[in-house]
């Protein structure tokens, strides 16, 4: 975001152009697109009936669920107070943050990324402009800690040879090859049990771009905030982004391929 004006962050002013108060978007079932797909006429009819009920305003009641209570918006006075508070702290925090903006991108090597140096790099070739690390057996460090930041490239990713280590408990850890894209380097580590099954995938390297586009030197809201804490709980399901990049998959596959070649696992 290029606009750095100390706009209110938490006491949102709804008269600001572009962010008007707005009723929730219509989320009614769109019959046309669903019926176009439906392969079986009877199911199409079922969906059509469902839609008719919805269109007719007959909301399907959730079984045993309660309707969410009507939320009260914060009063104007509290909004003004929040605005005043955030503006009052903006100046102080702006000064504090002004000199702390990071520049440059780094690849963070996570702790615990113990890599066996027993194997030397013999199998894979480097196909693109130089990596800073000449020893491919260690964790690739193409962009770590560079003071000048990383220059994004659009060339083919570099790869380095995977390594393997075995532990006394019978599990085997295999590092996948590292793949570098224009955001940094991705490398994962596969852990196999004694039976050859994949028991864990650890991320050794992820690109972490510290250069913040929206340098946040605004006031940090003091309402509804707390330090990030770790909670372990029994849940039914987890919401969060997944590692879906191709480099992650490639690094994992290289670890699996290496393990298979060494007879550690039968995974494909």
């Amino acid at each position: 975001m290029t606009d750095q004006s100390p706009r209110s962050t938490y006491g949102w002013d709804s008269s600001v152009a572009g962010y008007p108060a707005h009723p929730p978007l219509d989320d009614k079932l769109d019959t046309r697109s669903t019926l176009t797909f439906d392969p079986h006429a009877d199911r199409a009819a079922r969906l059509a009936r469902l839609t008719q009920r919805r269109a007719g305003g007959q909301e399907l009641p959730p079984p045993g669920g309660r309707v969410a209570p009507r939320r009260r918006h914060p009063s104007k006075r509290s909004r003004v107070a929040a605005l005043g508070l955030s503006l009052a702290t903006t100046g102080g925090l702006t000064y504090a943050f002004a000199s702390s903006a990071d520049a440059g991108a780094t690849s963070a090597a996570l702790p615990g990324a113990a890599v066996s140096t027993a194997d030397s790099a013999t199998t894979l070739t480097t196909t693109s402009p130089s990596t800073s690390s000449s020893s491919a057996a260690t964790a690739p460090s193409t962009t770590t800690g560079s003071a000048t930041g990383r220059t994004p490239t659009t060339t083919a990713p570099t790869t380095t040879a995977p390594t393997t280590s075995a532990s006394a408990t019978g599990t085997t850890t295999v590092n996948g090859a590292a793949f570098t894209n224009r955001f940094g380097t991705v490398q994962v580590q596969a852990v196999f049990g004694a039976d050859g099954k994949l028991t864990a995938v650890n991320v050794l390297q992820l690109p972490t771009d510290r250069k913040s586009v929206a340098i946040n030197n605004r006031a940090v809201p003091t309402l509804n905030s707390e330090a990030l804490t770790t909670q372990s709980a029994k849940v039914h399901t987890v919401s969060g982004a997944t590692y879906t990049s191709q480099d992650y998959a490639k690094s994992l596959q290289s670890a699996i391929d290496t393990a298979r070649a060494k007879g550690i696992t039968k995974l494909a």
Partner: protein, 272 residues
């Protein structure tokens, strides 16, 4: 590796589609294989139509200009119409034409399609008479009903640093959608349309609300907007947000508290 198990007490199917694992967990006793199969077929249909990783999909052809909007399948037109509404709703922050797509075009509605397709899948299940289920598509979740009599659905929001722990846990009964936009791993998929550059302020942004398509788009917008996005959500009744910054702080809208598992919070406070 698609796992399927169906018993008299429900069905749990995992399907790999749209580049992710979609877990369909139905708790109703009367769930049929046909219900799950229809959902699976729907998801593959969405994938074939909207995948920006497939150069020959209709959305890719549309993005390249080889397909006219009037010739595009109705489902694409519907999705793009809703994306336009969301663009207006978020003041231009959610813009499917503003980010480069993997297919080389500038049209990528994936940020909405993912949630919308799962929300539609939930309605398909409801049309088969299922009222208690949870679908998790790569971290975007819809739930309906209850996991078991007198129980609530319990949804963990992933901790950005520790894969097995949570930053927060939310509970819900009935219709609920949870979408998270995050960057634990650097990727090209979260771009601020106003600058064209990747955003990196936040570790993750979670939106909880009624419709997963809307929540998905709001989560993307919230991730781009940061704290301003919380202000936007304060003015969107029915939708609440939860942010995790890179400085290890969390922030949320006032309505988010009604979902948050207080007992876990208290347990965590005692540990401090």
């Amino acid at each position: 590796m698609n796992g399927r198990s169906a018993s008299v007490h429900g069905a749990h199917h995992v399907e790999h589609v749209m580049g992710m694992a979609v877990s369909i967990d139905v708790r109703d006793d009367n769930v049929t294989h046909a219900a799950v199969e229809t959902v699976v077929a729907w998801l593959h249909h969405v994938d074939a139509t909207f995948s920006t990783y497939k150069l020959d999909s209709p959305i890719s052809a549309l993005g390249r200009g080889e397909l006219a909007l009037t010739d595009a399948p109705d489902v694409i037109t519907d999705v793009l119409r809703r994306c336009e509404e969301l663009k207006i709703d978020t003041g231009g922050v959610f813009d499917v034409y503003a980010v480069p797509a993997p297919n080389g075009t500038t049209l990528d509605p994936s940020g909405f399609v993912k949630g919308w397709s799962i929300e539609t899948a939930a309605r398909v299940l409801e049309s088969f008479g299922c009222h208690n289920f949870c679908i998790n598509a790569g971290g975007d979740i819809v739930v309906r009903g209850r996991p078991a009599p007198r129980e609530q659905w319990s949804i963990g929001i992933r901790h950005p640093d520790e894969p097995d722990a949570f930053a927060a846990v939310v509970n819900g009964v009935g219709r609920l959608a949870v979408a998270t936009s995050a960057s634990y791993e650097r990727g090209a998929h979260i771009i601020d349309p106003r600058s064209g550059l990747p955003t990196t302020d936040l570790a993750s942004a979670t939106v909880i609300g009624r419709d997963l398509g809307i929540a998905d788009a709001y989560a993307t917008a919230l991730y781009v907007m940061g704290f301003d996005g919380l202000g936007l959500l304060e003015h969107r009744p029915g939708y609440d947000g939860f942010l995790i910054t890179r400085d290890d702080t969390t922030h949320w809208t006032t309505g988010f508290d009604r979902y948050r598992a207080t007992s876990v919070r208290d347990a965590n406070a005692r540990r401090e």
